[in-house]
């Protein structure tokens, strides 16, 4: 029994780790650096107790609660309480993304490429392949917990002791593993790697949103979210350990369920099997553009809906925030009093920058899709027929640009719909959203540049997007030096309506995107293609 299911799991686990070691290393370093860096920056930002205490008034409002979670230990807002309150949910979310990408790549991704079958022909157990991926994910999260605990303890901050550091890291690591197990499960249901990843990301989004809604309305919804459980540890203040058992137990059950289905199902099959399709191409599938639309339409649909919902969520949170501050009169010190802008207007740029950075993901993905086609040997079918290289790449670039407009329309539309028009007009929301478009196009241009010259290194754009996120989002909170923000196109976008719209950054970004994009085309028509 054990042999037939699990033979050689150990060897396979090492093989999985070996194949992913660079990816592991980058993720571990990034997450540990983010955690330690944030904790260290608190020391410089809020050296005195009075400053920390003053921050609580700014941090406790529906907008912030929706984003990071309910505050706790506010009567003595130590560095530890700050870290747990402001960073736990975000870091857990990031750890979730890491685990989803890792597991889906090594389960359904491999199965789709036929790698799993090659392995199954060897004397290994039926579920050894999946078990080894889950085991590697567990190891990855354990190493993450140790690294983060070590880094936090080494900072030697008074309120961040070993117990708290371990609990904080373990909550994040277990949250990550929960999503690893969840992805292993979703990979058993869906037949394609993309659907499996989509399901897992849906789970992550649901967990985050349930927590946000539950926290804002102070109801039980947060209890349906693993991220909510992690936050109930009230780490660094009360250090409650038992919610970790919820995380560990549910992860274990989900993993076992995944293994059970895996052992029972046929390789390559899923619960949702592929149906029969059309015998002939429809009127849309008439060329490169039609093909791109066909391959991406599902993703586009879900991203548009997600951005619209995100807009609605933030819009209603802003409305709540406005009401909150009106009733409590704590406006002093939070936002500038001299301004004649409404609160919503002052909060808008921060929220918009976050939504723009999220909206960039599908835009970049759309442009990079051409590289997937090349890697999977499918581009030769197109370029081997009467399609020029410029035409082919241009289709992807134009598609990516069109998508940027759709994303921002959906976001701003959702937000404007949910907003109270008196505190924030729809036109302000749309203007603020569209100001980000040139920054999107720089990302599209960068994607084209990488495709043209360094097709093997297109992952660099994700690192750059990660950097942009840290520079823009955390830059505001932690007051990084100006050049940190200026290294990303998003740092150049005017914080309308707080700042005025200046034409130079807009024109500058558009020009940069045009120049690097054109360079990318130049590289693409000259280089060898690989398939």
């Amino acid at each position: 029994m054990y042999q037939s299911l699990f033979a050689q799991t150990g060897n396979l686990s090492w093989f999985v780790i070996k194949r992913n070691k660079l990816r592991f290393l980058i993720w571990l370093l990034a997450l540990t650096a983010l955690t330690a860096g944030t904790a260290a920056s608190f020391l410089g930002l809020y050296p005195s107790e009075a400053e920390r205490q003053a921050l609580t008034t700014a941090m406790v409002n529906p907008a912030t609660t929706a984003m990071v979670g309910r505050g706790y230990g506010l009567d003595n807002y130590t560095f530890g309480a700050m870290l747990g309150h402001q960073m736990l949910a975000m870091t857990a979310l990031t750890a979730g993304i890491m685990n989803i990408l890792f597991v889906s790549r090594n389960t359904r991704g491999d199965e789709e490429d036929g790698k799993t079958e090659t392995l199954l022909a060897l004397p290994i157990g039926r579920t050894s392949s999946l078990t080894s991926v889950i085991a590697s994910a567990l190891l990855l999260n354990v190493v993450l917990v140790l690294a983060m605990t070590g880094a936090l303890v080494m900072l030697d901050i008074e309120s961040i002791n070993l117990e708290g550091a371990l609990l904080y890291s373990a909550a994040i690591g277990l949250c990550g593993f929960f999503f690893a197990a969840g992805t292993a499960f979703s990979a058993q249901l869906a037949q394609g790697a993309k659907t499996a990843t989509g399901l897992a990301f849906g789970l992550l989004m649901a967990a985050y949103t349930l927590r946000a809604v539950g926290d804002v309305n102070e109801n039980a919804l947060s209890w349906f979210s693993p991220i909510g459980w992690a936050q109930r540890t009230e780490v660094f203040v009360s250090n409650i350990w038992w919610p970790l058992w919820l995380l560990a137990g549910s992860s274990f059950l989900i993993a076992v369920a995944a293994l059970y289905i895996n052992a029972a199902r046929d390789t390559g099959a899923g619960l949702f099997s592929a149906s029969k399709g059309r015998k002939e191409a429809g009127f849309l599938l008439q060329g490169t553009g039609g093909l791109i639309w066909r391959l991406q339409r599902t993703g586009i649909f879900f991203w548009t809906v997600a951005m619209f919902l995100l807009g609605i969520t933030y819009g209603s949170v802003l409305t709540d925030t406005e009401a909150f501050f009106e009733s409590t009169n704590v406006i002093q010190g939070v936002v500038s009093q001299t301004s004649d802008l409404t609160l919503s207007e002052q909060f808008l740029p921060v929220l918009m920058s976050v939504m723009a950075l999220i909206g960039t993901i599908p835009v970049v993905m759309a442009a990079l899709k051409i590289k997937t086609e090349e890697k999977k040997d499918r581009m030769q079918h197109i370029l081997g027929r009467s399609v020029s290289r410029i035409g082919q790449l241009a289709h992807y670039a134009v598609f990516s640009i069109a998508l940027s407009i759709v994303m921002m329309l959906a976001t701003a539309g959702g937000m404007a719909l949910a907003m109270d028009q008196e505190s924030l007009s729809g036109s302000t929301v749309f203007a603020s959203a569209f100001l980000y478009l040139p920054a999107f196009w720089v990302m599209t241009g960068l994607a084209v540049l990488l495709i043209g010259f360094f097709p093997k290194y297109t992952f660099v754009i994700w690192l750059y997007l990660g950097y942009s996120y840290i520079a823009v989002y955390f830059g505001r909170i932690f007051q990084f030096p100006d050049w940190v923000g200026e290294l990303t196109p998003f740092g150049w976008v005017a914080s309308y309506p707080v700042e005025e719209i200046k034409p130079m950054p807009v024109i500058g970004l558009a020009l940069v995107s045009l120049v690097i994009g054109a360079a990318g085309f130049f590289g693409f028509i000259r280089r060898d293609t690989n398939g």
Binding site: A274, Q286, G287, H381, R385
Partner: protein, 298 residues
């Protein structure tokens, strides 16, 4: 009329010389075989011809046009079938065939359905559920349904069953009858022998033989099985005799085709009881070249 011509085509991948001064000249209406072992440079040559990769030096022209600069114009008149066909898992075979024909600029519904019937493909199935052979069929149907003057095919029958292989061969011969040209890369010799007017053998990036099959046969050896009244003393020392071996009371050996005449004169003096000859096959030629390709291995 020359339809495809390469002159000293060389391709470097970093420091590795993948193609070394490859010269091919293909005439209109010809079925041209391109054979060689795995990794010899067959696919690399075809990818240069398709304009997917750029030759380091030398030139390649199809229909008199440069394959790199005028790729799109060239592609309007060719149809290409890759050796390993990978398709979009969530598109159906029928959709892919239509898309390919559209991108090529062909509208020939009759030919399309005729070929789908002939190759026995279910066009309503998603490509993700097709076997390798079925994916190959999709590419072949799209190619043969496209109105092309030159078909470039890279090991097109890999994954096809023998029945489908026969159908494929029939399509190639039909195309030739209609005045089309076919460049067929393969390592299946029987296929090349059946279909090709001329062949080139490529090894380690260089073409080592080119000619019609009759030309190449002159370079081959005939295998003889001989039984004589008296033992043929000194046969092994005769010029042109190779691989002499005793077999069930008879002697088996190979003779260079051009030395056949005087070897026969030599053995007839011993009184021939039995003589069987096996015609030279491309296989022998192939194997001889491969063996000489790895002299260090012995």
């Amino acid at each position: 009329m020359t339809i495809l011509e390469t002159t000293d085509l060389t391709k470097m991948f970093g420091r590795v010389k993948a193609l070394d001064r490859v010269n091919i000249e293909m005439k209109e209406g010809e079925v041209y075989g391109f054979i060689g072992p795995n990794g010899a440079g067959k696919s690399t040559t075809l990818r240069v011809l398709l304009g997917a990769i750029k030759a380091t030096s030398g030139s390649a022209r199809i229909f008199g046009k440069d394959v790199w600069k005028d790729a799109v114009a060239v592609h309007r008149r060719i149809a290409y079938v890759p050796g390993d066909v990978s398709l979009w898992p969530n598109l159906t075979g029928g959709e892919v065939i239509d898309l390919f024909m559209k991108l090529h600029g062909t509208k020939n519904r009759g030919r399309r359905s005729e070929l789908i019937d002939l190759f026995d493909l279910d066009p309503a199935k998603k490509c993700g559920t097709y076997s390798k052979g079925n994916r190959q069929k999709v590419a072949l149907i799209a190619a043969f349904a496209s109105d092309a003057d030159l078909y470039i095919m890279d090991e097109p029958t890999s994954g096809l069953d023998p029945l489908m292989e026969k159908l494929f061969q029939k399509q190639v011969l039909e195309a030739r009858e209609n005045g089309k040209s076919v460049l067929l890369s393969s390592h299946i010799l029987s296929e090349v022998e059946k279909l090709c007017d001329r062949v080139s053998i490529i090894r380690q990036g260089a073409i080592i033989e080119t000619g019609s099959l009759t030309d190449l046969r002159h370079l081959t050896r005939t295998t003889l099985l001989l039984e004589t009244k008296k033992p043929p003393q000194g046969l092994s020392a005769v010029k042109g005799v190779h691989e002499l071996a005793h077999k069930e009371g008879a002697i088996q050996f190979q003779v260079d085709t051009e030395e056949l005449d005087h070897v026969m004169a030599f053995v007839s003096a011993f009184g021939i009881i039995r003589l069987e000859s096996a015609p030279p096959t491309l296989e022998d030629l192939f194997l001889r070249h491969y063996e000489t390709a790895r002299p260090q291995a012995q």
